[in-house]
Each structure stands twice: as structure tokens, then as C-alpha cells.
Symmetry: C2
Subunit: 496 residues, 2 copies
Amino acid sequence: MTDAWTNLEQRLRELNDYGSAIKLLEWDQAAMMPPEGGPARARAIATLEQATHTLFTDPELGDLIHEAGDSPNSDPASLRILNREYDKATRVPGELVRAIAEARGGAYQAWTQARPSSDFSILEPHLEKLLALKKEEADALGWKDERYDALLDQYEPGMTTKEVASMFEELMSGLKPLVEKVLSKVGDRPAFLHETFERDKQMEFCKWLVKELNFNFEEGRVDISPHPFTIQIGAGDVRQTTRPDADDLLMSVYAAVHETGHALYEQGIPVDILDLPIGRHASLGMHESQSRLWENQVGRSRAFTGFLLPQLKEMFPEQLGMITPEDFYRSVNHVERTLIRVTADELTYNLHVGLRFELETRLFRDELAVADLPGAWSDAMDDQLGLRPNGDGDGVLQDMHWSIGAFGYFPTYTLGTIYSAAFFDAAVKELGNLDEELGRGKTERLLEWLRANVHVHGYRYEAKDLAQKVVGGPITAEPLLGYLRDKYTGLYSDSV
Amino acid sequence: MTDAWTNLEQRLRELNDYGSAIKLLEWDQAAMMPPEGGPARARAIATLEQATHTLFTDPELGDLIHEAGDSPNSDPASLRILNREYDKATRVPGELVRAIAEARGGAYQAWTQARPSSDFSILEPHLEKLLALKKEEADALGWKDERYDALLDQYEPGMTTKEVASMFEELMSGLKPLVEKVLSKVGDRPAFLHETFERDKQMEFCKWLVKELNFNFEEGRVDISPHPFTIQIGAGDVRQTTRPDADDLLMSVYAAVHETGHALYEQGIPVDILDLPIGRHASLGMHESQSRLWENQVGRSRAFTGFLLPQLKEMFPEQLGMITPEDFYRSVNHVERTLIRVTADELTYNLHVGLRFELETRLFRDELAVADLPGAWSDAMDDQLGLRPNGDGDGVLQDMHWSIGAFGYFPTYTLGTIYSAAFFDAAVKELGNLDEELGRGKTERLLEWLRANVHVHGYRYEAKDLAQKVVGGPITAEPLLGYLRDKYTGLYSDSV
């Protein structure tokens, strides 16, 4: 008889192969597929997802996971993850899975109409239904302190609402006065940002930059899609996308740096564990820690912007010829009040996330009704950023997440940002100040450090344990706050 | 209880979804995948192919096919195809399927080494083994007159060796004297063909041309791959590739026209039958009839080359500025003795195929041993084209087909060419002479005719029945011979 672990490994490889096919279908859908291919593509993805679910919830797989604990060669960390995931996958009744899938379909469809019409009432009944089902799901999955824990756990395994709330409180209360001070001093958007930058040249520049940052093109690609993303298709195949917009040079450049952070993480997970449950990112927050670290701590630093500008001038001499390093550094760190999360700057971004986390937890504590969301959004926006939406379109309807049932996802953006600042501090503590090498565009030592301290572990540890291991102590918002205070004190030394 | 046909349709949709995933994995492998993604990709494809085979040979599916005959809504043509394919799929024992897959892997691997070394002995033992297994497979599938029928039937359902041999004999005996005469008169390769043509501009031209030929870009793409091919990923998604070579402008242009012929066929199959067995090409020969018709009867005609040249001159004024329409027409129809099939011209191409068909049938009749293949190849080449290979590399090893066990595939190239000439004659008979419109690049009437007479039927009829239906009588090589005689009489009027 074959060893249970050996059999289990074979099944995991097969599941990964299904996963590769699904991810390629999705990447292609966003980056390559002709417009009319949509309906057939959606069906093909649904079929393979259903097949994957059937393979994964097969009782024989459950038995193998159970028996493999006695196999001499088994990997305990992988079995821990499998136990956890098998348990979750089998706890939610099939009818509920199907009901949620249908409700998501309806709500997403309604959102695509509601947003351009700026009319929440189109989405409202669908969101009511979806929220009720997601509460049922949370109860089926189980939770200890509060229902929202079960949702958070799907994106940030092991993290609790209480822990997030505590970190967020520290961060938001420190951020708000800082934002107020900076906004009182900041000037208008720099004029060169309004120039036009040819899309082809932007792509050429982004590909060059991604390569400079040591993304391996033998094991990956960079393409264009409406929303930038990164996806690992299989071993030796990590793909990122960006979106050049002729009216917004910095957006595509910083999207490329951000996605390269994600992509370097994926390329850094050792190939020999890729077929095991430990062979992937530890959480969405951990993934975001990598993208934010490269985008902000590296990409928006005075040192690295000093490296970038001359390269950009070569590509766009007309538009950028007269720009000084100081102009450029201020521009990539320009702060402004905005209603929209995805275009928010580094300083105000986390206020947008804090607002969403608060509304989500209130929804799941039954303290807030779906019908009251637009008003609650508007009040929270006023409170956090001193702005009120013009309508639902640039308010409560701006993000897709809720319409696809992704409650619990938003906080991982800020968790990742909190991790990123703590990690960068730890890296500098060990490697010494990195300004000189970042000023030359040299990021190899930093990357090696991230490889050795984060990437190599994959999902061997839960994200918060890994984060503590990386920094050698508990994670708090203080490194992020300190970094932002220092940076903006430097930028507005007379005022902050 | 649900109707058997309804259940069957659901299973067919699921099988098509698996097929879409596999085809996308393959397209991407050839056109997009980064180099290091290869091994994981090969495994993912194998896993999904195995899963598809399991789904298709499920005895419950066999029962549904059987029961669906009594369903009031069932499609008899689809059931005929399904019966045939289910029967074939279940006749070959699983161990034999696996043994062939392994032998193919070994032989293909050996071929990739043997070809650059020009050393048949590297491939020989693998090919011996593979051939023996393919004979077993043919016997398991069953045949009436001779074993080779079973192989041919996999690519050209319903076609027999005897029928092919008869058409080929007619064709080859007519071709050989014509080739001799033309070759005795033809001059050197025109000088402009040796110029350099920028690859990017070639791609731009090819995409323009493909669009002119009414390929629908809302439902498809054109990309680059080492070997041009066309693939339908799913409804509304047909993709073709070409390969621009700076030293060979005409190759990429005519590859684009050829692949567009394949692609228009795929785009012409009605969307409402795509999930049924009738919703695809009738045979490889029928597919090739479409690519050859567009490439040769249209693309290499005096009328259409007259349309192409001014467009090409706009793109490549330096290289083509002085070329006359007559020069250009002669160049795209330049004939020469060549050892290599894939670069052979329209006139000599089918001699290369005839040679392979003859060797294949002798192998399967046990009249020729694998060890004697190189010598037999050399003799046949000398006999057909008056040339002997310099070694195995430009002789018996030049094509991949045998190393992957694709015996019975080659004849479909020439069958398609025979169909294409017969179809074009039938189209002209009905539509009138097309020269005037082809001279303006207008191909809509011809396309509509092909849509109505060929594409719309998909696989509702077997290819040879469909072909007879299209031309209103039996298919012979005479239309092709007549077309070639007319064309080359026009080109060398003093001599042929």
C-alpha cells in the first residue's frame, strides 16, 4: 500500500494543476481575451472551480489528510493548513455555497449598473441578501469572539477583529492629526503631472523598471490590463499587469513598482515547496506588505526617486526636462483630500481603509443596516477626511468588494502597510541605511533580505507569527506612523 | 427524471469547458508563456487531458448516449459522432493509451536531439516501439481493408486508404511532368526576396491584412509563435498566430493568409451548435481546404497579388518600390526544388506529402522497416523531386509528426488542397469570375459562400460527404491539376 502522504501529494499536485488552469483562464480574461469570449470564459472558469471544489471536499481526501499525520515524510505545516482548509470547505453546506455564488452574481451585476447611475438603491436588495448569506456562512465556519472574525480569517488566517481594531485605532488616531497638518500646508498638484505621456513609452519604461527591480522575465511576464494585478500561474510563471494612462504617468510607474513587490514575493517562494500547501503567500496582508514596501518605502523614497527621475527624463525629455529632483520627490508624495480610495496618496490611503473596516464590522455586529450604508459612509468620510461624496457613485459604490461578498478583505490593505513599515525598519536595522544603494537603483541586498526573511517561508507560518518573527517582536502601527511622520516632516519641515 | 439528452448536453458543456482550458494552456504555451514555465505547464495539460478522458469514458456517459436516442429533442448527427467517439475511446485499453503516451514522450524527446544531430539512429529505437504500439492501437480501434485506415480515420473520419491512394495517384502522376516542365524554365529566386523587412512592420501589415480578409477581432486575436497555428479557445474566441522573419517577408504574409483561412472557418461555425459534437470542423482535411483556398486560390492569384503589392509598398517603400505587379505575382508563385516540406511552394508541396503517405502506408503494411526509413526517404525524394537529402536532418527527420505518433496526419494536407481547388471551382461556377473583386481586396462574397456551403454545417456531415455536397459530385484531383496547369501555363506561357 502506498503511503498516505505520497497519495496526498499526488492529489495536491492535481489540485494545483486545476488551479493553474483557472488562474490562466482568469489572467487571459483580463489581459488577452477578445471581448466576445466573455460568456464562454465565465462558464469554463465556473466548471473548473466546481470540479476543484469536488476534488478538494472528497471524503477520501479527508481520510488521507487524517492518515498522513502518521506518515514519516509528511510535512506538519502543510497538514496543519490542509486540516484547516478541509475543515472549512466541508463545514459550509453545498446549498449555502451555491446560494452565495448566485447572490454574488446578482449583486455584482447590480453594482455594475448602480455605480455609473450613482444609485445605491439598485444594489441595496442584492446586498441585503448577500450580507444575510455571508452571516450564515460566518456562523457555519464558526467564530469565537465575533462573527467578523470568520470573514477576516478567510483572507488573513489567524487574525482577529480585536487585533485589527487595536492596530487600526493606534494608526488612525495618529494619522488624523498628521493628515490635517500636512493638508494645511500642501500646495496644488504639480503642473507636469497634467502633461501627456505616450502609453507605449510608459510601458517600455515600466518593463525596464520592473527588470531593474530584479523581476525575472525568464519566469514571468508584464502585460496590460484594466486593473493591475499579479498572479502566479505555475512554477516558473509569475505574471503582473499594469495600466498606462496617457494622463497619469505616475500611476502606471507606481502600479508597476507595487505589482513587482507582489511578483517578487511569488518568484521568491522556493520551487520545491510550490506543490505543497506551504508553497504560497501567508496571507493577503503579507502579500500587500511586499507590494507596499517596494512601492512606498523604496519607490517613493528620496533616494530612489533620485534614481528614477534621470531615467524618466531620458524617456520623456519634453515633459520632464525641467523637473528638479526635489519637485519630483514632492510630486510622487503629493497629498490631497480625495473621495476615491484607489487614487489616494500614501498618507491618506489608510483612512479610506479604516472607514471601510469600521462599516464592515458594524454590519456584521448588526449595528448598521444595509439601507443606512450610504449615510454612514458619508458621515464617516466627513469625519475622516472632511469631505462628503457627491453621490453614491463616488461614495459607497466606488469599490467592487462588497458586491462580490468580499467582506473582510479591505483591512488586509492596511495590515500589509503596517507590516511593510515594520519590515523595512527591521531590514535597515540589519543591513544599515540603504539610501546610497537605492539612489543607484540597487535593491539586491534588500531583496535578498526579504527572500531570506519572508519569501522563503511561504505559508509555513501564519502571517502574524511570520511578521513577529521578521521584526523580532509584536507588530504595532508605530513603525508606519514614525515613517510617515519623518517623511512628511522632511517634506514640510517648517510645518509638521 | 431529466431527459437523457438534456443530461448529455450538460456533460458535453462540461467537456467543452475542460477543452477550452486545455486549448488556452496550449495556446499560451506557444504564444505567451515565459521559458521557465514549461515543465509545470506540461503537467497541467496532462492532468486536464487525463481528467477529460475519465469524464468522456465514464460508463454513465455511454448510457446517456445510448438512451438519448429516444429523447425527442436529441440531435441525431451529434449522437452519431458521440457513438463513434465513445466507441473508439473505450476500445483502446487504458494500458495501451498510457504506453503510447510514454512512447510518444520518449520519441519526441529523441527527435529533438536527433534532428539537430542529423542522426536517425537516436530516434530509431523509440520510433520502432511507437510504431509497434500504434499498430496495436489500430487493431484495437478496428479496420476493414487495411490497418492504416484506422489511423487515417482519426484525422479524416470515414476516409479510407484506398480512396486517398486513388486521389493521390491521379494527382502525383499529373503533377510530376508539370513540375519537371516548370522547373526547367523557372529562373532564380527574385532579388527583392533577399531584402530585410522589419518584423514589427510585418506584424502590422499582417494584422491589417487579416482584418481585410474579415477575420473578426472582436472574437479573436493574432499573435506571434514559433510555428503559426489557429485555435478556437471557446465561443467568441478564435486565435491565430504568425511568425515574422526579417529575411522572409512572404512567409509571414502567406502564413497569415493561410491561418486566416483556418480562423474564418472556426469563426463561421454557428455559435448555437458550438457545445454539440457537430459544432466543429468536419476533419483536418476540411480545415486545410479553407486555409489552402485562402492562401492559394485567393492569396496567390494574379488578382489578389495586384491588390496586395501597393499596400506592401506603402509599408516597405525602400525594399519594394521598384517591384512590378508581374514581378510580385511571379515571386509569390516562385517554384524550386527543395528538400523541406514546410518551405515548399504550391506546385511541389504535394509531392512532399505524397512521399510521406507512401512511406507511412508501407510501414503499416509491414512492407518497410523503421531501420530502412532513411534510405527509402532518400530514394523517394530522388524519385519525386530529383534531390537527395544531405543527411537525416533535412530528410527523414525534418517533421515532428512521426515522433509524436501522428501517422495518418500528413495526407490531410493534400486532401485539403484537393478539396480547396474543387471548392473554389464550385464557388466561381455559382458566383461568377471573382478576379475583379479580388483585385480590390474584396472577399466578402466568397466568404459568404464558404460560410453557407461549408462553415455552417460544422461536423454535421463527414468531410467527404460534405465535400461532395459542396461540389455536387465526387471529389477528384482534377480541379487541382487543372488549376495548377492553368496557373503555370499563364506564368510560363511559352513553355508549359
